[in-house]
Symmetry: C2
Subunit: 385 residues, 2 copies
């Protein structure tokens, strides 16, 4: 509690600067705010606001709004108006997946200004996959005319359990991924912080930002594939778990020495190929046409998915479950999930489909980069743990 009474003048300047920047950014009036507006909104003194605005202009984050803008000129010199320069920096959100890499570029408001993606062979070794990432990044920066040193933060989402420093603790979905120091490898390519996150976690963040979970702070996002993963928000904050492994519910079926997912969804004695989505779609199509072995296989698959999602729901008690990943696009996924959860969960959550679909993971990676920058720019006391 000592910090309440401490008096660090540089910290105080920093706080005031953040308060003014926040007010500039949040300004909802038709015209950019004047110094008088900022004094009113922040409750700070006029000299303090003036000092903060000068510093922000020097740093490039704020500029004087053009004279034409805003209220009609009356007599005399019009009051100076100021705006937050959302173009003062840029962010990247990167998805690294089994079949493709995708990159989103955004300004400091989080508005997306560019995108690139590339197919990657599912068997591609880590180096090749990372080379594809770098190519896609170079591509989007060049096409958008954004210099690399304008990047303020880069978010990266990848399958696997991600350690706090961005190392992949376990990543069986991609060749050569387990043990890969993904954060360190990518940091060499960027002049700014690189944040690495699990793909389902990133997707959960994305759905909360601009997808199906905008209205809920307690969410489980299920990345439904052959074997499901999940990301959770608790009170609006990502729950990573003690070792970054929260939500890896796909491992549950291993406990009973049960069939692998590839066996579960196979209508024959031959397991499916783990990453062959077309094959999976074919099984679902056959089931819809009434093919008996395919229907049995799909039933088995759905029962297991429901069981895994129920385990997450019972453990966490979210308000909302959002189902994404490729399996979310399959007909007949949502209803059994909803019905069974309503039947067996003691406090059943709402169940919704992902609104962001394929772009959820990269969007979440972008949001994590934006969170990082906002914390730096706007947090009143970023040093407080």
């Amino acid at each position: 509690m000592g910090r309440l009474t401490g008096g660090d003048p540089s910290l105080l300047r920093r706080i005031n600067s953040a308060v003014v920047l926040h007010a500039l950014r949040a300004s909802a009036s038709p015209a950019s705010p004047t110094l008088t507006d900022l004094v009113k909104v922040t409750g700070l003194s006029r000299p303090t606001v003036e000092g903060a605005v000068e510093g922000l202009i020097e740093s490039g984050l704020v500029e004087e709004a053009s004279a034409e803008e805003g209220v009609a000129r009356r007599q005399g010199r019009p009051a100076r108006r100021f705006r937050f320069r959302v173009e003062a920096g840029h962010l990247l959100g990167i998805e690294i997946g089994a079949h493709r890499v995708a990159v989103l570029l955004a300004d400091l408001s989080g508005r997306i200004t560019g995108a690139a993606s590339a197919e990657v062979a599912e068997t591609a070794p880590a180096d090749e996959r990372l080379a594809q990432v770098r190519t896609a990044v170079t591509d989007v920066l060049r096409r958008s005319g954004v210099p690399r040193d304008a990047l303020r933060a880069v978010g990266v989402a990848s399958p696997g359990i991600v350690e706090a420093d961005g190392t992949i603790r376990l990543g069986t979905a991609l060749p050569g991924w387990t043990g890969l120091p993904l954060g360190d490898r990518l940091r060499r390519s960027f002049p700014c912080p690189v944040l690495v996150e699990n793909d389902a976690n990133a997707a959960a963040v994305a759905e909360h930002w601009k997808g199906a979970a905008r209205d809920s702070d307690d969410v489980v996002f299920v990345l439904a594939g052959l074997s499901p993963g999940a990301g959770s928000l608790i009170g609006g904050r990502l729950h990573r778990g003690f070792g970054g492994a929260a939500g890896e519910i796909g491992a549950l079926h291993l406990l009973g020495r049960e069939a692998t997912p590839e066996e579960v969804l196979s209508p024959t004695d031959v397991p499916l190929q783990p990453l062959d989505e077309a094959q999976v779609v074919r099984v679902f199509a056959l089931a819809r046409e009434g093919d008996e072995p395919a229907r049995t296989a799909v039933d088995r698959y759905l029962r297991r998915l429901v069981h895994d999602v129920a385990a997450l729901v019972l453990a966490l008690d979210p308000e909302l479950v959002v189902v994404g990943g490729w399996a979310a696009g399959l007909t007949g996924i949502l209803e059994p999930l909803r019905t069974e959860l309503a039947r067996y969960c003691l406090r059943p959550p709402r169940v919704a489909l992902s609104l962001l679909g394929d772009s959820a993971v990269a969007t979440g990676a972008l949001r994590l980069a934006l969170d990082h920058v906002e914390e730096e720019l706007f947090a009143v006391n970023p040093r407080t743990p």
Copy 2:
């Protein structure tokens, strides 16, 4: 962020008072602190500290330490010393279980100063169970010489899903429990706040306070019985879930339309009685003696327990799993749990037995009452969300 710049003098007084009280309570020096000590520790001005101490003495929370105490008298009048009166108020922690009710009494430091418990028939209706609670409370207050109006907060732990207002949303373990407004019913008996919590949640809090989870902030406590329940701490804070139902993992087995727990652990075709613990102990004893049907039943039971705990671990990724409840006392529970979790969880947690045993639930209820009082007394800004 406006509140940084606001100036509410009564809030400021309250903050200063809390800071001084906190310093008094935390004082680790051999003698009670003087005003000069408090000025040094808090960073507040001497008049502010004097004012705060006067107010605290008026409220009964602080008193002048006796003259004999502390440093040897030198020349002149010795400096006045002050102490936090831990006896200025009392707390109760109440466990309401299937077979018994238990009450713990403590002072404002959380030190336990009294205890009472009573057997209750598992078939007792809600009114009878509550009457037993009241009797046990009256008993412990009388024996300890604590007047009822000295109570500052009461924590109550009960099986079932507990709503924020203390109503039991679902409580199948106790007759007449579902829908019971437990908080309201008990509030009539007390002149202070009554906080109701799920029993496994309370036990998790207790193990973190003074049990097996003292060194970890990310804990799953498993209340192992025929059907397990669980409570979780994330970052040291209780995770209740959106509707207070987090951790109710015992419902998971229902999904597969599987056998009930009473069938799973029965060595015959006749299910066990849900609440007959002696019967359960008999099955485990038979299994140890080599009785084949009993061994099969125990194996089934352990496999399900491992599955349920694994589901919690995969969903939450805790640092530590603490196993309590009556099943924790059975030989042969811990090792299979530890081995299987290490085998199948992607980031296996440590697994430990409860240190508090039978007293975990009541102890956790007491801690919740203490949390409430500390928040009131010591929080710098309790109104901040």
